[in-house]
């Protein structure tokens, strides 16, 4: 290894360490500042809560078994919505790729549904499906599925025409073109859709819980704000941050594995 290369690697390493250091500092400053502002009553902790209060209330929730119940409920709804929307959206995209007539027919409807704020359908969903998990999961699916269809379909349609010609010259039928080319070529599209859907499925499940639920983090947030217990609201939000971040990290790990396997 040359001196210049060694220097470069060292510089790079320092840069990474500094980045991490700043990240930790930023978080520590935020938490510390928050705690101080609350403790010395610069702003009333009744309104902004404080890190130590949040830790305390999470402890209380955990001991009573409430924490598990709410976390599991939200996770269940979110992951179910996430998986159903991704799977069903991909299947829809395949059907639309297959039939260009159907694609042309449905295009204006899909565009309209995409621009429609899905939250507006909340009350209808509750009337139709009642209060409970199915309605919340449906909300999450509704929010994710349209963008899944649109992204996957545009991925399918942007596959190199010359590759399709190549397969046709080998007498490949449409099904073979789909399985040998279109689907494997769009693994990266699927991964980016998964990343988008992590965020959107949380939006769906939390909004669903706002509208109608007896458990879950969204319920805790609404309940906490109604009884003016900001500690509970903040604690739920913090837990939400951790869970959403964890889910995104899981997708990122999946992406690494897939990229390795597909040699891209």
């Amino acid at each position: 290894m040359s001196e210049a290369q060694r220097k470069y690697l060292k510089k790079r390493k320092i840069r990474i360490v500094i980045t991490h250091l700043f990240r930790i500092c930023l978080l520590a400053a935020f938490i510390g500042g928050w705690e101080l502002i609350a403790r010395y009553n610069v702003v009333d902790p009744f309104i902004i809560s404080s890190p130590s209060r949040i830790v305390r209330i999470i402890g209380t929730l955990d001991r009573s078994g409430e924490l598990n119940k709410h976390v599991i409920a939200s996770l269940y709804e979110t992951i179910a919505g996430f998986l159903i929307a991704t799977a069903a959206g991909s299947v829809f995209a395949i059907i639309l790729w297959w039939s260009d007539l159907l694609r042309d027919v449905l295009e204006p409807y899909i565009i309209t549904l995409n621009s429609l704020p899905k939250i507006a359908l909340g009350p209808i969903i509750i009337v139709w499906m009642g209060i409970g998990k199915p309605a919340i999961i449906f909300m999450a699916v509704l929010i994710c599925i349209i963008i899944t269809i649109i992204s996957m379909l545009s991925g399918f349609c942007s596959v190199d025409k010359e590759k399709i010609m190549l397969l046709k010259s080998m007498h490949a039928n449409k099904f073979k073109i789909l399985t040998k080319l279109i689907l494997p070529a769009n693994i990266p599209t699927l991964i980016s859709v998964l990343k988008i859907n992590v965020g959107l499925s949380w939006v769906g499940s939390i909004i669903g819980e706002y509208l109608s639920s007896r458990e879950g983090l969204g319920y805790l947030i609404v309940y906490g704000s109604q009884i003016f217990q900001l500690d509970l609201v903040m604690a739920s939000t913090v837990i939400l941050c951790v869970l959403a971040g964890g889910m995104y990290a899981a997708v990122a790990i999946l992406e690494k594995i897939v990229r390795k396997k597909f040699g891209q």
């Binding site: 590759k163 397969l167 010259s169 080998m170 494997p184």
Partner: protein, 264 residues
């Protein structure tokens, strides 16, 4: 023996605004073992002719006979080598080369053995398990050629197979491809707009006019057939052929430019 015969072939593209005639009454024949070049100004409909030969498009009128049968009904196989190598990045070289048999449901020990034999014979033995991104442009092009050879085609169709390579690689790969095709005793049709390339490779050159393409002249190249394209470039008669084709293409272009100036 005549392997491929085109008789008064016409083809048009249809769009909302216009009907564009791309191929107009094209007739020529390709004998077994022959290397035939199709040359013409870019955008003249050369690739359309290849797609017609490959059976991907059907002629609007006229017939294309392969081994005495219509291309669409013929059991004779056609190997298409596209402009860029179009190797699938998620497949290893071995798996890429076996794409054809896989599509036809003929991926078995026999086809695999043949594919490995070809890969080893043409110097890709050490790269069987590598991904296309790990290979040089020339090697990728060779892999693409082997991918078509694995199907044991009666005729090879090459669509400007060297246009994506830099000048030096281009000449080397051209020699490479020529020697492989000769060794495997294949008949080949190459589409190109590079006069030098065509003269150095082909036994016969079909010169096309601007769109709509029709045959301007068929030129027989009487250069030593056992020589490599690079060697043929050095032979005495080579510049004569170049000049002749150049003149043909130029005359035609001039005539069309005068036509335009008359109009304006």
């Amino acid at each position: 023996m005549t392997l491929l015969e085109l008789k008064d072939v016409c083809f048009s593209y249809h769009s909302k605004d216009a009907e564009t005639t791309a191929v107009d009454n094209v007739s020529f024949t390709v004998d077994e073992g022959e290397f035939v070049g199709i040359i013409g100004p870019s955008g003249c409909g050369k690739t359309t002719i290849l797609n017609l030969l490959a059976g991907i498009y059907s002629p609007a009128s006229g017939t294309i006979l392969l081994n005495g049968k219509k291309v669409s009904e013929s059991t004779s196989k056609i190997g298409l080598m596209p402009q860029r190598d179009q190797l699938f990045p998620w497949r290893t070289i071995e798996s890429n080369v076996l794409l054809g048999p896989e599509v036809l449901g003929k991926r078995n020990r026999e086809t695999k053995k043949y594919a490995l034999l070809l890969l080893r014979k043409y110097g890709l033995g050490d790269f069987i398990k590598k991904y296309p991104s790990e290979l040089s442009g020339g090697m990728r092009q060779r892999s693409a050629l082997i991918r078509t050879l694995v199907l044991k085609p009666d005729i090879l169709l090459l669509d400007e197979p060297f246009s994506a390579l830099d000048f030096q690689t281009r000449i080397v790969v051209c020699d490479d491809v020529h020697s492989i095709i000769k060794q495997e005793k294949k008949t080949a049709v190459i589409v190109s707009h590079d006069i030098n390339e065509c003269v150095s490779l082909c036994d016969k050159i079909i010169v096309l006019t601007k769109r709509p393409a029709h045959v301007l002249e068929i030129i027989r190249i009487d250069l030593n057939k056992t020589m490599s394209p690079l060697k043929r470039r050095e032979s005495q008669a080579f510049p004569e052929y170049f000049k002749k084709i150049w003149k043909l293409l130029e005359d035609k272009n001039e005539r069309s430019t005068t036509k335009i100036s008359e109009k304006t």
